[in-house]
Structures are given as structure tokens and as C-alpha cells.
Subunit: 366 residues, 2 copies
């Protein structure tokens, strides 16, 4: 069912989107402030993907860049709509809705900025079902929607149109190169598609899932219930039905470097009593793989989320600090993100990992 | 007067364009082969800039990249015309002529490839009056023609449109970033302008100057006259009227590295008898400054050309070899390349040099 979003919903949405960011995705709190600024007392129509017309013309919008830069370089706020308008002009066709390409992190918010500024509705779906570091890592791409032409906008009105045909990786490469020249953050419109394409290729209802997760965590805290049970209960009603607590411990080391426009590194999380084998989590913007010694705990595209051990507040890789007490959650992804074609696009090998994908629900018991 | 160019002219044009490349500009011999391939027995109309209509719509075309890469990565040949067609589609306007943005090096040839493939005429003028390493270093830019929108094409049909408004340096930065992702070579169409703009902003008759220089050198050799006198006599009839022999010596050292898409380095040229102070020439793709110890011999935008000491064959920085016997020539640039605005755009400070510009004819006697 389609629904209406107001500024009141934004803190919960930001919390849920940070969880789905699996350590990356950029800080949604900055996006939240930008949405609040333009939305005010207004509201945004969120369209259910099952209810939209086959011919609805949708242009997704997003931010790209390294999360470590995004927290220091606040966007002007006009860039995402400029990207959409630039793509409209290039295509000679007007968007009837926008949509996230990524439901985790700040990209849950960018289409809302566009919606608040333009009055366009937002489709409740995305192309990552979480956060991924590259523009080519989209279910849209896996199931045949082309990312090109892509429009990229900068804060001083710079406009770039990139058309690499069916080669989404080359599109990602060019857009990344320009984004680095923009100082590390760019805003984009890409994967223009129809309502029928959305139903065929997108992960459905991920914006409402993020909102519901964030709300459930908050309500559990307010009502002194376990936020972890709230997370599990919320996800049980979605395509993300398996949740596993992979580890409880303390952050003892974080290696982080920003290279080639990405934040890469490794977090080491000991046990609470400092005995036993610590858990290591490797990330490229997002958490990619969790291991305890040689034991695989969870691997991309399944979600690996580090959260506060009591409040379940999700923690991004740039928010990790020595001594934090955390829980590591593994969350299963929907079947359309685990097909052979999907794993080729954003499975372990796409990140240079030698491990094969094993579903998190097979790696550990309930 | 407008004239006709055939494949017969290409070796002379290549030789002259290499001289005007002042060590850089990319190897025109590769461009020459590409032109020959598409031109065959055909001919290309070269338009005199004084004779074109005010409203003639001109889209210049060029290659960008590091010369060190250009000699290893041969273009498919279809990219420059694809760049022009991409810009035409973006502007909704059809080109009536193309033109070099740079008369030195391979960019003397790229518009000829476009002309041979499309039948378009080529305007006998350019925006550098030599070769420079960056797209923003154009007399077009100095006198108010905007580089944006720029279209860039890759060998696998990739198309990128860059619009940074009046900021030609940001345009250069984005195009350079994409070119690096293309493997180091890209093809572009930019600085779209009218015939009136050409007359106001371009360095006139530089294509015919390159051809005349190359022909004069060849004829002097064939007729056992001094090719150096032939160069001086040819230039005396142009806006480049002062030629100085700055040094005769042997190449004893060349430092060269390709960084950020440029070939940077330094050549050291001793005296023939190995006594005295050697001459050092710094380059960024092109030769920028020649010094003998603390003595300034010539500096950008004046031309510093290294040529074979007997045949006057011009030598590019990537062609420099230990032990080569060479002469270093300094050639004065036209007044429109020495104005305050011109020196801001491509004078010594634009390359990070601390020296002020001094005309080569003031630095050394005839």
C-alpha cells in the first residue's frame, strides 16, 4: 500500500537505514537534516511497487562517494535534483517518480530530498537491498536494467552525463573518477526505468523496512523491551527473514584508509572477557565478511551489522571506536539477491574474496 | 586562402607538428597513419580563418592523454568523430567544420581523421598555437569561448558529456579523470564556436604553418641546404618570427614519470665537448623551461624545441635517448599568446614555475 512520509519519520528511517548500511552507505543523519530542511511540515508520497503503473517513468537518485568524506563534506542539497533534471534533459523525458538505488545509509534519504524539492513521489524499493560500494552492484543491473546514461551533479552546478551502454562497471569507474575530482562526493541519477522494470528488478519495500526497523528499535527501548527481539520480529515479516547474533564483544582494533574513493579496512572485535579468538570484519565502505579465525560467520551479500550491545544502535565503520561493546548481527538477504547472476555482480568474488557465498542461516543456528 | 590537403602532405605535416609539439603533443606519426587509412586518395578542404562565415558552426576535436601512453595504445580511429557526434546531439546542432584545439603533435591530425570520415572541412587555426598539456590552456578560453560542454568518447563506444559552465579547469579535471580510466587516452570535442569566435580567439594558420615547416625541413635536406635556415625562413613569414638556437649538445640524462595522466620530467643536455654548464629542460608533456645553470634561456609559452643537430628532425620527450646530439631551438609565440590573460592561462605560473615570462628574443640575441 502507498503511504505518506513526514519529517516525523526521519529519525526512525535514519536508524533503520544505518542498520541496512551494514557499516557503510554514508551517514543518513546528514541526509535526514537535508530532507528536514526542504520538507518542513510537508509530506512525501511513497508508492508501493506492486501498485505503480507499468509505464510509470522512474529515475532513481543517489549520492556516491566514500563515507569517510561524506561526514566532512556536507552537500549543498541542490545536487540530487540537478542530477535528475540533467538526466531528464538528456533523455528528453520527465520523471514521474524517483527511487533509492540503495536503501542502506544516506541513500535512503537522497530521493526524499529530490521528492521534497520537486513534489515527485518515491517508489518503496531499491536496487541493493542494503548498501554496496559500487554503482554497478544493483539488482537492477542483475536483472537487465542498464545504469547508463547516468547524470552526475556537483555542488557548483557541474553536470556530467556518462553513457557506457550495457557496461555498468565502466559507468561506475567513470563516475567514481569524476566524484574523486569533486572532492569525494557526487550526486547521481541513473538506472532510469519503468514501473514494470521496478517490479521485475528491484528489491521491494526496503524503504518501509528501514523505517519499520528504526521505529521498532526505538519503541523497544522506550518500552524497555529487547531491541534485538524487535529487530528479529520486524524482519520476520519481510524477505529478510533470518537474523543471527554472530558475536558479542569489544572493538579492539580498526584499520581504515580511504583509497581510490573507497573506505577500506578491517575491524577486530574481541570477546567481552578478552579470551578466545576475536572476530575480524573486513569492509570496503560496507562490511564484507566476518570471520572468527578460520571460521566463516557471514559473507556478502548477506548483511553484517555491528550494533551497540545494549541499545542496538547501528554503528558505521567510521563510527567504530576502541573499547566499544558491540554485537555483530548477520541478516539473510532475499532470494533475488542470491541468484547466480546476483552473486556474480555483488557476491564475494566481486570484492576479490576467495570464499564462496554461504547463506548466513546455514553458517550458524538460530 | 583555403586549400586542399591530401595524404601526400601528411609526412611533412607530421614533422612540422612534432616541432610545434615542443617535446609533447603526442606522436603525430600514429595520427598520420590513422588519417591515411581513412583518407586514401581523397582530399580534405582546409578553410582559411579569414574567409569563413561569421556564423559557421565549428566543433574542434582532439585527443587527450599522456604522450607516453599514446605511443602504446593506438586508437580505434572512430573515437574523435563519435565525440563530435555526441556533442552535436547534446547541443542539438550540426557542425559545419572541425578544427584543432592544438596544432602541435597528434592533435594536428585528429581533426583530419574527423574530416576524412565525415567530409567536414577543417579550419586552419588552433587554440594553443603549439602544444600544451591541459584542455583549459586555450586561447579560445583566454578570449572568452567556453570549453563546456565537452564530449569525450572511448574506443568501446563510451560517451561522456561534461558541462562545468565557465570553469574550464574543472572541465579539464573531469575529462582527465575519465581519460585515465579509459587507460590514458580519450578523444574529445569541445569549445564549440562560430566563425566569428574563431577569428577573435584562435591562433590563425597554424595547420598550414606546421605543413610549411615540415616541408621546408624536408626540401632543405633533399637540396643539401641547412634545415635550420629553412625553419627560420619559414617562421619569418608567420606570427612566430623569432628563432634562436639556445644550445647544441648531447643528451646525458632524461628523467621521466607518468603521474596523474601527464608525462613529467627533465632532460639534461651537456655541451658537445662535455665541458661547461649543461642545459636543463623541464617538461610536463611539453617542454616548459630551458636553463643553463641559473640563466633562463626560454620559458613557456614560447616554444622550446629539441631537434637532431644535423637533420633538424624534432624529438619528443619520449624520443629522447642518451647520447643523442641535438640542438635546442627557442621560438617566439604570437602576441595573442603573450597577453596578461594568456600568461595567466598558460604562462609559467600556470605550470607552478616561479619565473616570470620573458620573451625568448629578449633573452638571447639573434
Amino acid at each position: 500500500m502507498s503511504w505518506t512520509l513526514t519529517a516525523h519519520d526521519l529519525p526512525d528511517l535514519a536508524r533503520g537505514a544505518t542498520l541496512l548500511g551494514t557499516g557503510g552507505g554514508g551517514d543518513p543523519y546528514i541526509g535526514q537534516m537535508l530532507v528536514q530542511q526542504v520538507l518542513g511540515d510537508g509530506e512525501i508520497t511513497i508508492l508501493d511497487p506492486e501498485e505503480i503503473a507499468d509505464e510509470l517513468f522512474v529515475i532513481p537518485t543517489a549520492q556516491m562517494g566514500a563515507p569517510t568524506v561524506m561526514v566532512e563534506k556536507i552537500p549543498a542539497g541542490t545536487e540530487p535534483l540537478l542530477a535528475l533534471r540533467t538526466l531528464e534533459a538528456h533523455l528528453g523525458r520527465t520523471a514521474e517518480a524517483t527511487m533509492p538505488i540503495e536503501c542502506g545509509g544516506i541513500n535512503s534519504m537522497i530521493p526524499l530530498i529530490v521528492a521534497a524539492e520537486s513534489g515527485l513521489p518515491v517508489v518503496d524499493a531499491d536496487g541493493m537491498g542494503r548498501a554496496f560500494p559500487e554503482l554497478s552492484m544493483e539488482t537492477f543491473a542483475v536483472y537487465g536494467v542498464q545504469g547508463s546514461p547516468l547524470a552526475l551533479a556537483g555542488e557548483r552546478g557541474e553536470k556530467v552525463i556518462i553513457d557506457t551502454g550495457a557496461d555498468n562497471r565502466q559507468m561506475e569507474s567513470f563516475a567514481r573518477a569524476v566524484t574523486i575530482r569533486l572532492g569525494g562526493v557526487g550526486h547521481i541519477a541513473e538506472y532510469a526505468m519503468t514501473g514494470a522494470d521496478v517490479r521485475r528488478t528491484a528489491v521491494p519495500r526496503t524503504l518501509s523496512m528501514a523505517l519499520n526497523l528504526g521505529r521498532a528499535i526505538r519503541l523497544a527501548r522506550e518500552q524497555h523491551r529487547s531491541p534485538f527481539t524487535a529487530i528479529a520480529d520486524t524482519l520476520a515479516q519481510t524477505l529478510y527473514s533470518h537474523v543471527r547474533e554472530l558475536h558479542v564483544g569489544k572493538v579492539v582494533d580498526v584499520e581504515r584508509r580511504t583509497t581510490e574513493g573507497f573506505a577500506r579496512g578491517k575491524a577486530t572485535i574481541s570477546n567481552l572477557d578478552d579470551t578466545g579468538v576475536p572476530v575480524e570484519i573486513n569492509f570496503q565502505n560496507e562490511n564484507l565478511v566476518a570471520r572468527r579465525g578460520d571460521e566463516l560467520l557471514a559473507i556478502v551479500p548477506d548483511l553484517i551489522c555491528i550494533v551497540d550491545h545494549e541499545t542496538a544502535e547501528p554503528i558505521t565503520t567510521e563510527g567504530l571506536r576502541y573499547g566499544q561493546r558491540v554485537r555483530v548481527l548477520g541478516i539473510s538477504t532475499p532470494d533475488l539477491m542470491r541468484s547466480e547472476a546476483a552473486l556474480e555482480t555483488f557476491g564475494p568474488q566481486a570484492f576479490g574474496l576467495s570464499d564462496s557465498f554461504v547463506p548466513v542461516e546455514q553458517l550458524s543456528g538460530p
